[in-house]
Symmetry: C2
Subunit: 312 residues, 2 copies
């Protein structure tokens, strides 16, 4: 009996390079990860990818491997298979990674924006299964994501749709890593919540967050809020409001059947959900108010599974 | 020789009902318009539509008419052919206009959101010709529009994409007709510019706008700016900034090849364009900065031609 099709997903991140062997049912059969060789640059990292590939495909019949999907932070040119530049990895400029990996792995290779890859993973095998329209939002160090519209991935010119995190939600707001002011990412990403928490904690010495001093991060806010800390609950409410304003925009602009949240923030999704929904009730036009806000189902694997799914 | 295909577009507006006979080349062969019978409600207006249809098809061979496209303000259910409700026309609730018009006109009828209809008109026969990705924005009493993404009209759940005007660009901003605060429409529509002009004119007695008192409207600001009035130029710069912030979001979210502006504001497009472009240069990610901002080419006919184009 022929073994069912398998594919490999590789995710290039600023901190880790990860790989997974994925079945046609979306299940992860093997995983491996290593610290990204930032100093070694692209040459070293492609060796790392080759090594991770070998680890996750150990003992696998080569003929059953359909291909390797690579997800990476943008901006990238998915059609040409070239990484144009990665802010967190300075030497990754104009790297033809598809050609380079093909040369060493001798398999079909495809390159996808990491936000879109994760959206694909959740669409095919996670919280977005069966939907013709949905938006995946990842909130962690930044805000990114991908859009499924009318049964297809929304691509746009140069496949550059959709930079959700650089939607301006407060024109005079916080300075963003992109240099602009008031991007959704600058207002509501994990680091933005951490910054606000540090500022507020300095003003509220009684809060459990104040004891952490300058080390306060977004995850600490979620933990303290679970324990009932007043300041932390206030910060969670504010974060939910900032996320909700962006979600209202996504509803009006794409009309999805669901908005799915992934990334680091999904650890606090249960704490944030009602506040996001409140913004929708207060700010969205009536026909959009019934759209559900869901947590991603594949956790840290959304992007790996989505990248592999390009061949499944 | 067989006459080339013709179709009729009918546009239902809060002020006027208009109709046009349109050729397969997009050219308007005949036009007619009348004041919307608001008091008479749907029954009276459908008679008006029938009358306008007769006027624009006078002498036309019935067999050459492919169908009638109707454009109307949302929210509407285009698939079911039902107008769900029109804020400016109170009695238009749950009106099955496609069935009703079919009964009297005995032709295929299709219903389209007016923003999408205008986008279709500009895509097929106007400023968006040949593009696979573009966004049409109409700025007049409100802000609306439509999106062409990857060679198709972006539809979304219940065909409710894309309410561009209800994208929040300033969470604490002006109150919108929808009840929310800081929608793009509340910040940058014609009436929003008029309101700001009246407030500022009261503070700047030397301005030519101050002489108009409470009668100042957006169009007066454009006229005064053309004549070099300092306050009017300041107001035009502010309007361009507010429009530009929304355009930056559209670039990041849809990655269009062009953004096309129509509606009343297009009369001042030449005055506003450079200010919109400045926001793009200052606020958009580098790969989006080269996208052109264009004026609509079909003027007041975009929606009529687009509605007819559903059958061309």
């Amino acid at each position: 009996m022929k073994e069912s099709a398998l594919a490999v997903g590789i995710d290039l991140g600023g901190t880790q390079v990860r790989a997974a062997l994925v079945g046609s049912d979306g299940a992860v059969r093997a995983r491996a990860a290593t610290r990204t060789d930032v100093v070694g640059g692209p040459v070293a990292v492609i060796l790392q990818m080759q090594d991770l590939f070998s680890q996750v495909t150990d003992g696998v019949e080569p003929a059953s491997l359909a291909g390797v999907g690579v997800s990476a932070p943008g901006p990238l040119d998915g059609e040409a298979g070239v990484i144009l530049g990665i802010p967190t990895l300075p030497r990754w400029v104009d790297i033809p990674i598809v050609a380079q990996l093909h040369e060493v792995l001798r398999l079909p290779i495809s390159l996808e924006n990491d936000g879109v890859a994760a959206a694909l993973g959740e669409w095919r095998f996670g919280a977005g299964r069966g939907l013709r329209n949905f938006v995946y939002v990842t909130v962690s160090t930044g805000i990114g994501g991908g859009v499924i519209a009318d049964g297809c991935v929304l691509r746009g010119r140069r496949r550059l749709a959709a930079y959700l995190g650089h939607m301006i939600t407060a024109p005079e707001g916080e300075v963003c890593s992109c240099g602009n002011r008031g991007c959704w990412e600058a207002q509501a990403s994990g680091p933005a919540l951490g910054d606000l928490a540090r500022r507020r904690a300095a003003q509220v010495p009684g809060s459990s967050l104040a004891k952490l001093g300058d080390a306060v991060e977004a995850r600490d806010v979620i933990v303290a809020a679970r324990e009932g800390d007043t300041l932390a609950l206030e910060l969670v409410a504010r974060e939910a409001e900032l996320l909700g304003i962006g979600v209202v925009n996504l509803l009006h602009l794409y009309s999805p059947e669901a908005v799915v949240f992934g990334g680091g923030v999904s650890n606090g999704f249960d704490m944030l959900k009602s506040g996001v929904e409140r913004q929708i009730q207060e700010r969205a036009l009536p026909p959009f108010r019934a759209v559900p806000i869901l947590a991603a189902q594949l956790g840290p694997n959304s992007g790996l599974v989505g990248a592999a799914s390009l061949f499944l």
